[in-house]
Symmetry: C2
């Protein structure tokens, strides 16, 4: 049984990639088999695991645009239980060329429908609500939505909720979602106020786990290693482990 | 004589919108006539000036996709010398439908080619390198590139430089660029290291002005007012005034 999680938010810079890396690390560390898929032409997930995107010849773009086999493009990361399907600049063609195909929103779901030797597939999405993100939402069991406790981020959730409703109506009726507060600074008055607002607006839809600002997360991206393996004792490693546990609990409760 | 500035970076959350708002405020305060254009479907620039995007009936999408007149869509902001052409969710159609037109990269340049009663036009771009951003780069005199002194942001400049070279070769030979360090935390070791690296890589291409972290900028977006008018004595208001002066000096030196 494979659980597919789309890590998405149209708002830029809210820790989508950082969350994909860290959650992937935490799940792999807990002995789950995990596949990370980089859907962003920026290829930050690929870079964050130490793979230079400029050297990636075959990427997720070949799978989505040229019917390449997913597993032939995936590669090991050096972390036990954690594989990646990398991205590269070719993915910038996807927004333009996916929509010309019949049922284009189902392409990724089709690719992921075969038997996969992974318990979790994490999809790192670009900061947009275009063809690529709709593919991810159509394929996903649930959307994990990292959000900074800031005004533009909180406001942006409105259009994402609209996109989720649309995907539920057209392609994926069981699509669930969880919102995750990231980059929180507990000393900041606006962050505390917006956290309260998110809790009262979303209730159960907001995860209890909160990820706080931690510069060790910046260091881990430079080191090309998930925080759980780069600095296992750090506060953010513990917080992302708590996130993995909360997600596992929610999945079982379903 | 109108100077057109594209505020752009594929990397999300690097203060493109915040910079457009604050630089616009600083230029208007110095008695220049300024037009802000929101090219992002998130419509954060529109929201940051207190206009709810959900209530915007005619937006920049009508100008780009339905040949509406630019000035008929623009509106006053309540700040003397500062007007805005708002965005709304319709702009999400632009990435998909602009490319089907003949010479689609020149549409915005055409719209801005008539005599405009503005000395500066600032274009707030979405976090992508698609049809909308290529339109902005084709129309612009120069690109202003906000960048956080962080690993993913610094790495992302590579693909943006490639896009600028391409636009220079095909559509806009005189396109210049300036990189602006934003959201800088001077106490942070990685920020200091990456600032040095950006200085040695880009030399003259990196502006001397640096924008530091300042929570008053977050407050100003909630208030719907540029920082120069929301809290004129704040450090970030001073830094954005210094940015306006540096840009004016560079423009004269050209
Ligand atoms: N909890 C945190 N503490 C400190 N820095 C963080 C934290 N989470 C993320 N960052 C940093 O903030 C920046 C933005 O994070 P990231 O790139 O993961 O966001 P994103 O949503 O994937 O961005 P994009 O929209 O461009 O894809 C990165 O430089 C990252 O290293
Ligand atoms: N110097 C600063 N100090 C503190 N907060 C800042 C600063 N600059 C921007 N911010 C905040 O950081 C967040 C990201 O900024 P902003 O939304 O302007 O970036 P952007 O590049 O336009 O994002 P997107 O890629 O989504 O369009 C916002 O919540 C903004 O209020
Ligand atoms: Mg990312
Ligand atoms: Mg923006």
């Amino acid at each position: 049984m494979t659980t597919i999680i789309a890590i998405t938010n149209e708002k830029g810079g809210v820790a989508k990639t950082t969350t994909t890396l860290a959650l992937g690390g935490a799940l792999a560390e807990a002995n789950h088999e995990v596949l990370l898929i980089d859907l962003d032409p920026q290829a930050n997930l690929t870079l964050g695991l130490g793979v230079p995107p400029a050297k990636v010849r075959r990427s997720i773009a070949d799978v989505l645009l040229n019917s390449a086999n997913l597993l032939s493009v995936s590669r090991e990361t050096g972390i036990a239980g954690l594989d990646i399907v990398p991205s590269n600049a070719e993915m910038s063609m996807a927004e333009r060329f996916l929509p010309v195909r019949q049922n284009y929103e189902h392409i990724l779901k089709g690719v992921l429908s075969g038997p996969l030797n992974y318990e979790y597939v994490l999809l790192d999405c670009p900061p947009s609500l275009g063809a690529v993100t709709f593919n991810a939402l159509t394929a996903a069991d649930f959307a994990l939505i990292p959000t900074q406790p800031e005004y533009f981020s909180a406001h942006g959730l409105r259009s994402l909720m609209g996109a989720i409703r649309k995907v539920r109506a057209q392609n994926n009726p069981d699509l669930a979602y969880y919102i995750l507060i990231t980059m929180m600074d507990r000393r900041n008055r606006i962050h505390r106020a917006l956290k309260e607002q998110l809790q009262s607006t979303f209730g159960e839809g907001l995860l209890e786990t909160i990820i706080e600002i931690d510069t060790k997360l910046r260091e881990s991206t430079i080191a090309g290693t998930p925080i759980t393996h780069y600095n296992p004792q750090s506060r953010s490693a513990q917080q992302y482990r708590a996130l993995a546990e909360e997600i596992l609990r929610n999945a079982q409760a379903e």
